[in-house]
């Protein structure tokens, strides 16, 4: 991986140049309704960005899988129905200040969106976007990225990773898109900068690691063979089935497809975020519901993230950002729950379930 040094002024001038060229630039900014919160937003000036203060309250997912988006327009005419396609190509955009767990979430969803059938709406935005993640140093007790195989210094899903050093950043250029972004910017990094950056990364990791031990590979197999374990009955007792966890999650990608009238003969087909935690998610038209209770729906959430997706794609569908725990009105805490389940999985076989 190549690297460069970029001073604070050079970063500001890079962002300024992009904005001047009408490139959409997205960065963490203070939320309008709550200045203690950050959210990813398109910015108008380099000064709008607020880097390294805290985890933005929602993930980057909405820029690639919007909460609601039009899949097609239809129009009824005398002759039949006309369909107008939506464009899948979008203008280039650059995201600065992504947290590594959010960039990694996009890489995980890529695998689903490319599973046999390629979702061009997703990939149109993915390909048009250059993602610059910053080393995370705003972790709290709910973060557990190191337990899911990532870390505050992870470059998974990022085109470049910026690590703060004196007067600026050490920029690791992860992909050709990252290299292209900094082609005319930055200077050669010194050995001191490299050493400092490595120390920061080690220190950042050490802050998250105590929160939850690395999830063992065998956990996925244990989950698959303990679908009927009694623990599922009690785990979800505090879950309201509201789906806040899924909305905040960088990897939850379930969606609904619905039609909406605009007028009597015109309308759109939309894709909307959905969540496996809601009661109607799987209900059949006969009224039969394969996941009739909240314990079954919560089991699906855990199984999907830690067993089903891993069995298909070889990694965990969770980046350890902890937003689901912070946002849960019932106080469900994913790292504690996963920790409890891992402990069950590692208990003696006779105590481990069926």
């Amino acid at each position: 991986m190549t690297h460069k040094f970029l001073s604070h002024q050079e970063l500001a001038s890079l962002i300024g140049q992009l904005l001047a060229a009408k490139t959409r630039v997205i960065a963490p900014v203070r939320a309008k309704d709550d200045s203690s919160q950050l959210e990813y937003q398109p910015i108008q000036s380099p000064d709008d960005a607020t880097f390294g203060v805290r985890l933005p309250r929602r993930s980057l997912k909405e820029f690639f899988l919007p909460p609601t988006e039009v899949l097609l327009h239809y129009k009824q005419t005398k002759a039949g129905v006309e369909i107008r396609e939506v464009p899948t190509e979008v203008p280039p955009q650059v995201i600065f200040g992504a947290v590594p767990c959010d960039a990694a979430g996009l890489a995980a969803v890529d695998k689903v969106m490319n599973w046999d059938y390629r979702d061009e709406l997703w990939f149109g935005r993915r390909e048009a976007t250059t993602i610059v993640s910053f080393l995370c140093n705003t972790m709290d007790a709910t973060c557990f990225c190191t337990a899911v195989g990532l870390g505050p210094e992870s470059s998974t899903g990022s085109d470049a990773l910026f690590v703060p050093v004196e007067d600026g950043y050490l920029a690791y250029l992860v992909t050709p898109k990252g290299e292209a972004l900094l082609q005319n910017h930055g200077t050669e990094a010194t050995a001191t900068m490299l050493a400092d950056a490595e120390t920061s990364q080690r220190e950042a990791r050490a802050k998250v690691e105590p929160n939850l031990a690395a999830i063992p590979v065998e956990f996925a197999t244990w989950l698959a063979s303990n679908f009927d374990h009694p623990v599922w009955k009690t785990l979800a007792l505090r879950c309201h089935g509201c789906g806040a966890c899924a909305a905040m999650c960088p990897t939850c990608h379930c969606f609904d497809i619905v039609d909406e009238h605009i007028s009597a003969d015109e309308g759109v087909r939309r894709r909307n975020w959905d969540s496996c935690q809601t009661g109607l998610f799987t209900v059949h038209s006969s009224g039969h519901n394969p996941r009739a209770s909240q314990s079954e729906r919560f089991r699906q959430r855990i199984q999907h993230k830690f067993s089903i997706y891993p069995s298909r794609f070889g990694e965990i569908l969770c980046t350890g950002c902890g937003r689901c725990s912070r946002g849960c009105p019932g106080g469900m805490d994913l790292p504690s729950i996963v920790g409890e389940l891992v402990a069950l999985a590692q208990a003696k076989p006779e105590a481990g379930g069926q």
Binding site: Y74, Q76, T88, D116, E120, F227, S285
Partner: protein, 276 residues
């Protein structure tokens, strides 16, 4: 064209099967799409009424009849009720074919027992006509079909055609109380009808579709007859939106009905988490 964009199809024919079940015969508007469209018996699609949404059904016609597809549905929800309001000449959307299919190649040279209950005959009918169109490549064919009442039997004109063929053994049954004075078939539930009709599992595959309760009580009968779970095929249906493995709705544990199914063997079903 993005993967969620449907092909446009015209309704060419409407057949009312029962008081609430209807079959639509559909043709692609675009002759280029029609020419290249291929599917196998058991595959499904997403059918849409513009302004109402999409709904998932199997393709109920056999791939041996080119130029059109058929779907049969019961008006139960928003989309199916809207489909019912459409007329001949109206346009619907279709995405597909999706999913796996019944292994016709494997069944060639063997006998097949088809078992269906109610509207569960729709996917089985696609296989039956497929096999009948290639009749000399299969051995004995037996069809056991039943519904709650005589009025609930679907594809009645085809039941008559099958009854008249000497190369098909057909057994029709209705639940006790569902018979009419002139009913000539059995008055029995499907498991009993299978017990009375199917003599042997030797060299035979079973294809079974119907309500979960029917399948639950028929599988032991088939096993008693000697059918191994690997030779009993059925379809699972779960609520779906995309049909492409992305919307996250139809999975039963690690198994995605839209991609790994909808056709499964009884042996595979036994290994699934019991969440369907």
């Amino acid at each position: 064209m993005n993967i969620y964009q449907p092909h446009l199809m015209r309704i060419r024919e409407i057949t009312d099967e029962t008081i609430d079940t209807r079959t639509l015969k559909l043709e692609f508007e675009d002759p280029g799409v029609a020419e290249h469209f291929q599917f196998s018996a058991g595959q499904f699609g997403e059918y849409s009424v513009f302004g109402e949404g999409e709904s998932t059904f199997c393709i109920a016609s056999p791939p041996t009849r080119a130029g059109y597809i058929e779907c049969s549905f019961k008006a139960t929800g928003k989309v199916t009720q809207a489909l019912r309001r459409l007329d001949v000449g109206d346009t619907v959307g279709f995405r597909g074919p999706y999913g796996n299919h019944f292994p016709l190649e494997k069944m060639k040279g063997h006998s097949i027992v088809f078992i269906a209950g109610g509207i569960g005959l729709a996917p089985v009918r696609a296989v039956i006509w497929n096999v009948l169109d290639l009749r000399d490549q299969f051995k004995d064919l037996t069809i056991v079909y039943g519904a709650r009442s005589v009025g609930d039997l679907v594809y009645k004109r085809e039941l008559e055609q099958w009854a008249q063929r000497s190369d098909v053994k057909l057994c029709l049954a209705v639940d006790p109380g569902g018979q009419t004075p002139d009913w000539k078939g059995l008055v029995a539930r499907i498991p009993t009808a299978v017990e009375q009709t199917v003599a042997t599992a030797e060299d035979t595959f079973a294809v079974i579709c119907g309500p979960p309760i029917m399948i639950k009580f028929t599988l032991p009968v088939l096993e008693k007859l000697g059918f191994p779970g690997e030779r009993i095929y059925t379809t699972l249906e779960n609520r779906m939106k995309c049909g492409l493995g992305k919307c996250g709705r139809c999975n039963i544990g690690p198994t995605y009905v839209c991609k790994d199914g909808p056709v499964f063997t009884a042996a595979q079903m036994r290994n699934l988490p019991q969440e369907f």
